[in-house]
């Protein structure tokens, strides 16, 4: 890693941007998934499920 | 069938040209844009004449796209779109009539006015005719690509900026070939006819595809 040559800054910046963009995407999708899961669980606990309480896996 | 087609065409032409129709607004907007450019670039006539075709094309593109969101919205609001959907005329032909009326009231005047506005950006005399010609064959493509976007956003209460965002990337080929055909009249290695014929092909293809896509979008929105 020490020998990235004269353009090390650009290479590291490129990989940092990849980590930031993909990390942000992963975080966004994961949090959305969790929020919907919680909303669904809350609704089903109140007995709003149409399928007689059979939860989604 | 052609009676219904002509009726829609006539109605839209009448709506656009009578008071409050806003058919002339695109032309005024075009003029305003072309006047604004030298204020941004400076009054250097050499520079302006070199990029003149590009300025005119960009102006025409924006002037066409800005007003397009009203193409189907008025009909959607007052219910005439439901009548058109229910009529015996295929929806594709109705869209074709409306697109044609839009082109006759915006694209055609823009193309005819382009040589006059060309004077403002010191367009050389030999480039006047090519610019007007490319706009004449290129603006139908803009109208019909735009018609698809207008059909997709017909039921939105706040259309506005979404239509240009959807449609502008799709107009890239028209812009490229329109400007390069106009520029070829100013010299360069490309003969005029090559980009001009591709531009004609693009226009004809969007005439068909845009009409079909717009009609499909209107059907989905029911």
């Amino acid at each position: 890693m020490s020998a990235l040559g004269p353009h090390a800054g650009y290479i590291l910046a490129a990989y940092a941007s990849v980590v930031m963009i993909l990390g942000g995407l992963i975080l966004m999708i994961w949090r959305d998934h969790r929020a919907q899961r919680q909303a669904l669980d809350a609704l089903e606990q109140r007995g709003a499920g149409r399928r007689s309480g059979k939860a989604l896996s | 069938m052609s009676g219904a087609f002509l009726a829609i065409l006539k109605r839209d032409l009448a709506l656009a040209t009578r008071a409050g129709g806003g058919g002339e607004l695109a032309l005024v907007f075009f003029l305003t844009l072309v006047v604004l450019v030298p204020f941004a670039l400076g009054p250097d006539l050499n520079l302006l004449s070199r990029i003149g075709p590009a300025i005119l094309w960009l102006g025409a593109l924006l002037a066409t796209l800005i007003g397009l969101d009203r193409l189907f919205q008025g009909d959607e609001e007052d219910g005439s779109l439901d009548l058109i959907r229910a009529s015996a005329l295929p929806l594709e032909l109705a869209v074709l009539a409306k697109g044609l009326a839009h082109w006759l009231t915006t694209g055609l005047p823009l193309a005819l006015a382009a040589p006059l506005l060309g004077l403002l950006v010191a367009l050389p005399a030999e480039a006047m005719l090519p610019v007007a010609g490319t706009l004449l064959v290129g603006t139908p493509a803009l109208s019909f690509i735009g018609a698809t976007g207008a059909a997709l956003t017909a039921s939105l209460k706040r259309g506005g900026l979404i239509l240009p965002i959807l449609v502008a990337p799709l107009t890239v080929p028209v812009l490229i070939f329109g400007v390069s055909a106009s520029n070829s009249a100013l010299g360069g290695t490309v003969p005029f006819l090559t980009p001009f014929l591709i531009l004609c092909a693009l226009s004809l293809a969007t005439l068909v595809l845009g009409t079909i896509a717009a009609a499909a979008a209107l059907r989905q929105a029911e």
Partner: protein, 252 residues
């Protein structure tokens, strides 16, 4: 075909995807780790481009994924319009932000690669410009999703836009090529075998597969979230109607 019909059932999809996800994430993490190790410590520097060739290992897979996700969206759009497949517009909606992110990664890494190689962050060359236009189309599709609130109607409208864009992408590519070409010619899948050094090809392929698996895993999670969002929506409406009925009965 039977399995496809089974998959069409959202409940069945939720079940299968929850079993598939750990494997997908594990394989993606493994391949990405191996690929990055090879890319940084094993692959030699290019004799022309020096160490900056290491940017290629993320730039090329990102470009490929941006295109692949758009193709997937076009297929989903057909599924929405022709077969009215219940999962098709879910798949399409979940794919748009992922494809847009990979297009953005491709653009940014391309710019950071271009600065040391060409001396400028951005050149208006054919390929970069095409990816930029593709990114704009992605943004338009996401904007349309946000403005239409009824999911099934939005799905059909976006499907039409996606297909129109899909027809347009090759035309845009052709016209942008015509307009300007400055990039190096395609060198990985050229006829007559790859021309890049095998020591570079291996990390590239491993990383490409790793990023693809990661993107597919993200797509599955986003689809699951979207299915649950729709179920929450329907259940909320049901619940509101039930409460409405209860108060109406109590009033009598």
């Amino acid at each position: 075909m039977a399995s496809l019909i089974e998959l069409a059932n959202p409940t069945r999809f939720m079940h299968l995807s929850s079993r598939l996800l750990p494997w997908l994430v594990g394989a993606a993490a493994l391949l990405l780790a191996v690929g990055l190790y090879l890319a940084f410590f094993v692959a030699p520097a290019d004799y022309q481009q020096g160490e900056t060739i290491r940017i290629m290992f993320v730039h090329v897979p990102a470009a490929w994924l941006a295109l692949m996700f758009y193709s997937m969206m076009a297929i989903s759009a057909l599924g929405t319009l022709v077969w009215r497949h219940p999962l098709a517009d879910v798949a399409q909606k979940a794919a748009a932000p992922i494809g847009a992110c990979f297009a953005l990664v491709c653009l940014i890494t391309g710019a950071l690669w271009g600065k040391p190689m060409w001396g400028t962050y951005w050149v208006w060359d054919a390929r970069l410009t095409s990816v930029l236009v593709l990114f704009l189309i992605y943004l338009g599709i996401m904007a349309l999703w946000r403005t239409l609130d009824d999911p099934s109607r939005a799905g059909r409208a976006v499907a039409i836009l996606t297909l129109v864009g899909f027809v347009n992408v090759p035309i845009i590519k052709f016209s942008v090529d015509w307009w300007n070409t400055l990039h190096q010619p395609a060198s990985v899948f050229r006829a007559g075998g790859p021309t890049i050094h095998p020591a570079m090809l291996w990390p590239l392929l491993i990383l490409a597969v790793g990023f693809t698996l990661l993107a597919l895993a993200l797509h599955l999670v986003a689809m699951r979230a979207e299915i649950m969002r729709r179920r929450v929506r329907t259940l909320t409406i049901f619940e509101a109607e039930r409460l409405d009925r209860l108060t109406a009965e109590a009033a009598i």
